[in-house]
Symmetry: C2
Subunit: 224 residues, 2 copies
Amino acid sequence: MTENLTLQMDDYLPLRDVVFNTLREAILKGELKPGERLMEMHLATKLGVSRTPIREAIRMLEHEGLAVTIPRKGAQVAKMTEKDLQDVLEVRDALDALAVVCACRRMTDAQFVELKEAMKAFEDATRTEDVRKIVETDEAFHDVIYASAENPKLVNIINSAREQMYRYRYEYVKNPSVYSQLIAEHKQIIEGFDRRDEEFLKGIMHVHLTNQINAVREVIREQK
Amino acid sequence: MTENLTLQMDDYLPLRDVVFNTLREAILKGELKPGERLMEMHLATKLGVSRTPIREAIRMLEHEGLAVTIPRKGAQVAKMTEKDLQDVLEVRDALDALAVVCACRRMTDAQFVELKEAMKAFEDATRTEDVRKIVETDEAFHDVIYASAENPKLVNIINSAREQMYRYRYEYVKNPSVYSQLIAEHKQIIEGFDRRDEEFLKGIMHVHLTNQINAVREVIREQK
DNA sequence: AACGATTAGATTGTATTTATTTTAATACAA
DNA sequence: TTGTATTAAAATAAATACAATCTAATCGTT
C-alpha cells in the first residue's frame, strides 16, 4: 500500500507573492521607512529575482495602501500624515464596532475558548519584553474576534486598515507602561463576550482603539 | 505677459492604468461576466498591448476584489455568492452610517447645493430611461455625500465595496418601478442633511441600502 | 466503452531586452 | 555666484523571449 500520499505539496508561491510578503513585512517592521524609495532594479538584485515580480508586488502594495507610485518616477513607501491616521482610525472605529457586534452574535464556544487562550498568550508575552512577540499576540487576540464575526469581506478591509497604522504602532508597544492597560482592556473584552453585551463591547473597543491614537500620533509627529 | 501657462498637460497615463480602467469598466458593466477567464495573451492582443501591463492591471483588479487569480491557472472575474453579498452589505451599511454622520457634520453649504443639484440630475435621468445615465447620476449623488465626509480613506474603502456589488446592481436599476422609491429616498436624505439630523440620516441610508439587497440577491441567484 | 498514460498545445511565470523619461551632473553665459 | 542648456546616467515602461506548468485530446489497454 503506497502510504504517505501527501503529495500535492503546495509550497509553491508565485515570486510576486513572495516579494509582496517580504516587502510588506519589511514595511510593517520599519525596515523600509515611510518615504523610502522602492527601486525596481535595486530590489530585484537584492531579492535575486527579475523586475517583473517586483513590479507586480508593488502594484499589490499600492492597493494595500503601503506604497505610492508616481508614474515614471517610481514607488515609495507610503507616508502617513496625522490627517491620514485620523481618517483611518475613524474607519477602523466603525469597522471594529461592526466586527465586535457580529462576533458577539456569532462567536462559537470554541472561539470563545480560543479568545481566552489568546488573551493568556498576550499576557505571557508582555512579561517577556519581546516587542515582536507582544505585537504578534496582540494581533492574534484581535484576529480571533475578527474571525468570529464570520465575515471575510469585513476581515479583509479591517486588515488593510490595520496594516496602515501597524507600522507606526510598533513604537507604541515598545513602552512597557501601557501593557497593564492593554491587559485590562483585553480582560474587559473577554467579559463583554461572556455577557454577550454588544453595547459594552463597542464602548471598550472604541476606548481600546483611541488609546492608541495619541501614541501613534506622537510617532508620526516625531518622524517629520 | 505670457498668459496661458497651462502646460503641464498630464494626459499621460501608464498603460497598466488604461488597461485597469478598461477592464474595470467592462466588469462593472457586465461585458466581462463573473467567472469569465481573463487570459493575458487574449486581452493583450485585444487591447493592442503587451502582457506586462495586462498582468499589472490584473494585480490591481485582484486587490479591488473584481478578479481572482489561481496560480498557474490564471485570473477570472470574481464571482459573488449570496454570502459574499451579505457580507459586503454588512460592511457598507456600517461605512455608509459613518460617512453620513461625518458628512452631516462637515458638509459645506456649497456641497449641500451640489447635493441638491445631483438629486435633480438623478430625477431628470430617471425620465430618460437611459439606464447608464441613471446609474451614473445615482452614483454621483452618493459621491457628493461621501466627498463631504472629508475622509479620503473612507471614500476609498466605500468605493471598493460599492464596486463589488455595482455590477449586479445594473439589473436592479433596469426596473423603472423602483425609480419613484429611489427619488423619495434621495429627497429624505436631502431633508436629513438640511436638518442635520444624524440619526435620521443613518436610518434612511440603511433603508436605502437594504432595499437593494433583495433585488441584487435575485440577480445573483438567477445567474447560478 | 471506460480508464489511464502520453503527448501536443495553450497558458502562466519569469527573465531579458528595448524604448522612453527623468534625474543629475556638467558646462556655459549672465 | 546664479541661472540656463546640454549631456550623461539611471530609472521606469513596455515588449519580447524563454521556461515551467497545466489542460485536453489522443491512443492504447483492459
